[in-house]
């Protein structure tokens, strides 16, 4: 077998974990800042309709051109980042909390409580999550709020399963037994012994899940179930731009590119974090 000598190949250099970690963190950090500072950064009101300037090419006044209603594309992208990133964080945080609570309870108590909770999780996991979200949105009607709630109700199951597994392995360790003999309350055991030891995998799965949450929100909006017109959101922007795919494909390309970059960044970040902490992603 030939061992490559000299300069490492491009692929090897690209897979340099530290580089990916730093690069993705910077990109996502800037994007979060841009989303927060959207009202100051955006050159125009993202909802201001001006048919006189519709479908314009990039110019100094409209850096990325305008859409079919003459709205500034750059401004809409910036405001869209607020929806996508903001609600992805919300979905992530809330489903994580529910999953942490239920998974830890099931793993720590065990017995019939565990059986009951996990059979329920199995039931939810039996369906692809998109189908469940579609079903829930079908019941409650389209809208961003419904999509968010539906995604939360579906996502926590995966966290619950992961935390249950982690807690079950930890529970058998003697330091938990020692803590009980030491007179530590269950709450103290959770805070002092369980939580610090399940935090690294939590970080990894969380990063990967953020990417999924963004994609789910955008997909729902694209299907017309999430953010409703005229709301600025990346998926909704693709949805509105698709009628002009022949004449103005950039209306779809800009938000599509952003979604792709953000999700790729979250995934690469999650991968390199998992490498770093030695977390097995399959464990979820």
């Amino acid at each position: 077998m030939n061992v490559p000598l000299g300069r490492p190949r491009l692929l090897d250099r690209l897979s340099n974990q530290r580089l990916i970690l730093i690069g993705c963190s910077i990109f996502l950090g800037l994007l979060f800042l841009a989303a927060l500072a959207a009202p100051w950064l955006a050159p125009h009101d993202p909802y201001l309709v001006n048919l006189a300037v519709k479908l314009q090419d990039p110019s100094w006044t409209y850096p990325l051109g305008t859409d079919h209603l003459g709205r500034c594309t750059l401004s809409r992208l910036l405001y869209g980042a607020r929806v996508s990133l903001g609600f992805a964080v919300l979905i992530f945080a809330s489903s994580l909390l529910i999953g942490l609570l239920i998974g830890t309870l099931a793993g720590y108590i065990g017995g019939w409580v565990d059986q009951l909770l996990m059979r329920f999780c199995d039931g939810v996991m039996a369906f692809p999550s998109l189908i469940l979200v579609l079903g829930l949105v079908g019941i409650f009607g389209p809208g961003l709020k419904q999509v968010i709630i539906a995604l939360m109700l579906v996502q926590w199951v995966y966290y619950a399963r992961m935390f249950r597994g982690l807690v079950m392995t930890l529970k058998e360790k003697n330091f938990i037994a020692a803590a009980r003999v030491n007179g530590s309350s269950h709450w103290k055991i959770f805070r002092m012994h369980l939580l610090p030891n399940i935090l690294p995998p939590l970080l990894v799965i969380g990063t990967l899940e953020m990417g999924w949450a963004i994609m789910d929100i955008s997909a729902m909006s694209f299907l017309g179930l999430g953010v409703q017109s005229p709301g600025a959101e990346w998926g909704a922007m693709i949805h509105e731009g698709k009628s002009y795919i022949r004449t103005n494909p950039e209306l779809m390309i800009y938000p599509g590119l952003l979604i792709m970059l953000v999700i790729a960044s979250f995934n690469l970040l999650g991968e390199s974090l998992s490498e770093r902490f030695g977390v097995n992603k399959q464990s979820k």
Binding site: R119, N174, F175, A177, A178, V181
Partner: protein, 262 residues
């Protein structure tokens, strides 16, 4: 009154699941024992004999299916404040401490649970405890991976004696240490027993280790008490098959040719 009375304790493990039910397995059968304050009971037996289960029951981690355990005349499951008086040292010290905590935090855990100490008094107590087990103040801020197995076992001992208990369960506490560390830890345990008036239940399969520390010896086999030797002499002179079986289970320090019986 005896410090600890174990009265007709039986225990079974059953795997009860949602639909399937596997047959229960008897781990302990009608075990009765008493332990006086300040003495060490050597609890010997081969692996799977139920030694550690008995240890877990004495710690209140598991409740026996039958029988009761009295500590100073009171049922340990009714009177949970007796927990302060019964502590434990486990075999694998690396699994017995949380890897994310410093030595100081590990030893402080029982102290903060049972005693109300000011930060200064707590620190002072921690340093005293470390010195008692032969470690230095500088070790307070170290993490478990920075210690050797023997040092970490000393930290576990410091944690166990932190709240001035009356009884410590030593669950194979020296079994995974090398000969030198084993001898030093045994010395430490004997010293602490004398100075603090501790009683031990020394769970082990190592006859030699048991002989250096214990005042009384009992043998557990298949969950039943099969031998009770009230003194060291009666144990060393005993020749019945249970004692022999346990002696056979440990490799000699200086191996000679051994004939393999067919």
């Amino acid at each position: 009154m005896s410090l600890l009375q174990i009265k007709h304790v039986s225990h079974r493990y059953g795997n009860q699941r949602f639909l399937s039910r596997q047959p229960e397995q008897t781990v302990l059968q009608d075990v009765s024992l008493t332990l006086e304050a300040g003495t060490c009971l050597g609890l010997l037996g081969r692996s799977g004999a139920g030694k550690s289960t008995l240890g877990r029951i004495l710690l209140g981690l598991e409740r026996p299916k039958e029988g009761q355990v009295l500590f100073e005349g009171q049922d340990i499951y009714q009177n949970l404040s007796s927990r302060q008086d019964i502590q434990v040292v486990f075999q694998d010290s690396f699994a017995a401490v949380n890897p994310k905590l410093t030595a100081g935090q590990i030893i402080a855990e029982p102290l903060t649970n049972f005693l109300r100490l000011t930060p200064d008094a707590l620190e002072e107590r921690l340093i005293t405890l470390l010195e008692q087990v032969g470690l230095a103040e500088a070790d307070l801020t170290k993490y478990p991976h920075q210690f050797s197995g023997g040092q970490l076992q000393r930290i576990c001992i410091a944690r166990a004696i932190a709240t001035n208990p009356k009884l410590i369960i030593l669950d194979e506490a020296v079994s995974s240490l090398d000969m030198v560390n084993k001898a030093m830890i045994l010395d430490l345990l004997r010293e602490l027993k004398a100075t603090l008036g501790l009683a031990y239940v020394f769970i082990t399969h190592d006859v030699q280790a048991a002989q250096t520390l214990s005042d009384r010896f009992v043998i557990l086999d298949h969950g039943q008490l099969v031998g009770d030797y009230p003194t060291l002499e009666s144990f060393t002179e005993a020749t019945d098959r249970h004692v022999e079986a346990i002696r056979q289970a440990v490799l000699a320090t200086h191996p000679r040719y051994r004939t393999i019986r067919k």
